[in-house]
Symmetry: C2
Subunit: 123 residues, 2 copies
């Protein structure tokens, strides 16, 4: 499977895939002409990477999940150390979520106060 196919299959760009490889998240063999050659597994792997990225993790965060990127993330069994680090990331995530949720709530409250003036110029 060449890079274009993998890109198409995963929704990533070839550029992004090379980038993932460069940062060590995926790997490939090369065919005689120098083209990257990917295993079928790569599809799942890249899918998982993109899933984590889409959720706000960084490539560096994702690195932590290397051991379990090839299967279903939800049922993954990962290497011990990886999971330890993952726990830290979990805390970070929780922190981010909490902070953003707090802002969201405040913003929502502010909007509520504003939400019922008598004459509204819009709509």
């Amino acid at each position: 499977m060449r890079i274009g196919e993998l890109a198409h299959a995963t929704g990533a760009t070839a550029r992004a895939l090379r980038h993932y490889e460069q940062t060590g998240l995926i790997s490939s063999e090369r065919t005689s002409n120098g083209y990257r050659n990917y295993h079928e597994r790569a599809i799942v792997r890249v899918g998982n990477i993109r899933y984590l990225l889409a959720a706000g993790l960084t490539l560096d965060d994702v690195r932590v999940f290397l051991p379990c990127l090839d299967g279903d993330l939800a049922t993954a069994r990962a290497s011990d150390k990886g999971m330890r680090v993952a726990l830290e990331r979990l805390a970070v995530l929780n922190g981010r979520i909490a902070a953003q949720t707090e802002v969201r709530d405040r913003l929502e409250a502010a909007l509520r106060l504003r939400a019922r003036p008598s004459s509204d110029t819009g709509h």
Copy 2:
């Protein structure tokens, strides 16, 4: 109040304050020697800006709140249009939170599966 004082009072650096000014989030007069001169209000304003930033908003997001940055965010009454846009941001925020929460949950689930092997090499 000069930039150093404001920086000290808010926990921001002078560099950051100039940046906020450059992007239009705060303003200042100048004294005869060219130094920036800030009003007392600036403390609250910068505090609010940093609060929003800390919660994961961008400076651009913060711009939306310009009308209510000088008071308590929780009880703020903002200009109509500003609040409209704010609603959109709210949706964005909710999206981000939801995405990150989802990952968090999956990660947590993965950790749970892993959390009770018989012999673990680490402590």
